[in-house]
């Protein structure tokens, strides 16, 4: 009869399923954060563009804080201080909140750049046709400016997806956290990190390919 308990066991096929589920959670938190962050960032960018100095004095420095403080610090601080103000968020929601704000702070500058890229003469031409301010924004500024800054936005989105790995410090079991757990059990860090890296690549690559296709279509 075997009495010793084995702590370590090698990499098994079922671990691949475990990693796939973790990759799904990485994808989930990324899609949510990037979507919310893009909408908020577009709004902030518009405020900074239109609000001029008022927004530049208030919103600008605030977004600078979120852009400048390392994400891991933001996550730990928010997760631990949020309960004090009555927000009892689990690691997943805390991660979504911080990643969204972080994404928004990056997208805000991209969005403002896009609006500036359209230029006053183009907007006056649109308004001279009888378009309202909002029609001009929707049908002229958004498509023209959006295309101009689309590559920058893709860069931000891919960055946020990779940075979502940091939510692992809160205990949310996404791809990186799952890898750490498996490494502890299997003692095979190189193999597991290679697999995790391949998962991240598999998540990013279709996005950058699709973005490249879009850019190509627009430029022709």
């Amino acid at each position: 009869m075997e009495l010793t308990i084995s702590f370590f066991s090698g990499f098994q096929p079922s671990d691949l399923l475990y990693l796939t589920q973790a990759a799904w959670r990485t994808l989930l938190i990324s899609i949510l954060s990037i979507s919310i962050g893009t909408v908020l960032g577009g709004l902030f960018g518009w405020m900074m563009y239109e609000g001029k100095w008022a927004a530049a004095l208030t919103l600008g420095p605030l977004l600078d804080v979120f852009r400048s403080v390392p994400l891991i610090i933001q996550l730990v601080l928010f997760y631990n201080f949020a309960p004090i103000i009555g927000l009892n968020l689990d690691p997943f929601l805390s991660g979504v909140v911080i990643l969204s704000i972080y994404c928004a702070s990056l997208v805000a500058n991209v969005a403002r750049g896009g609006m500036e890229a359209v230029g006053q003469p183009m907007r006056r031409a649109a308004r001279s046709l009888g378009m309202t301010y909002w029609q001009d924004l929707r049908y002229v500024v958004l498509p023209i400016g959006g295309r101009a800054v689309f590559p920058s936005w893709v860069g931000v989105a891919l960055g946020v997806m990779k940075d979502s790995a940091l939510v692992s410090v809160l205990g949310y079991i996404e791809l990186l956290k799952a890898s750490q757990i498996l490494i502890t059990r299997t003692q095979e860090p190189l193999l597991i990190l290679t697999i995790a890296g391949a998962f991240y690549f598999a998540l990013s690559y279709p996005i950058s390919r699709y973005a490249a296709t879009l850019e190509k279509r627009w430029s022709s």
């Binding site: 006056r124 031409a125 649109a126 046709l129 009888g130 378009m131 049908y139 002229v140 023209i144 627009w218």
Partner: protein, 240 residues
Amino acid sequence: MIEIRGLEKYFGTLQVLKGIDLDIPKGEVLSIIGASGSGKSTLLYCINGLEAIQAGTVTVAGTDVHAKGTDINKLRQKMGMVFQQWNSFPHLTALENVALAPQIVKGKSKAEARDIAAKQLEHVGLGDKLHVYPSALSGGQQQRLAIARALAMEPDYMLFDEATSALDPELVGEVLDTMRLLAEEGMTMICVTHEMSFARDVSDRVAFFNQGVIEEIDTPENIFGSPKSEHLQKFLSNIR
């Protein structure tokens, strides 16, 4: 009918329009000439409500452009404007460029807007370029596209702000021909221009701007044949 009374416009402390009085009856073609910085273009922007004014009134078809309650977007539908830079929408084909405003501003159906657009592009001689993107058009073609885009709103007035100034010399003719065509069709037009031959041949009246005032306004024959003011004489002799 466009009526301008005592119009004054400042950029900061710089006064660019110093009390303009001007009536443009329906069907008239008015050319505005004068040196750069004399306020010609600013006047057009004030008529269209793209620039705020500090004193006076601009009335278009009985509506005060700068009054608080005026629906400026509705009023602008009556005034087509063509700019020095043509500003075609780069993400839309020629047809879509022209069809956009009728569809979203006037609420026409997509098919109807496209019909109007095709008709107007034909009108300015771009009937074979319907599905071409602006990047594949020459400057002259893009400027005609801009004219078609303005015409698609079926305006009563057309404002041209140095429509040919940014064009290569060999492309000026086609745009001027389009403007001539509009004039012949009876469109009311205000043309800020440096093309003296156009001003002479096509206009009913010519206004000479100098430092924010209309220094002389008369028939082309009198403006070019027997200019009264010293500034105008000097301006014309510099051009010739």
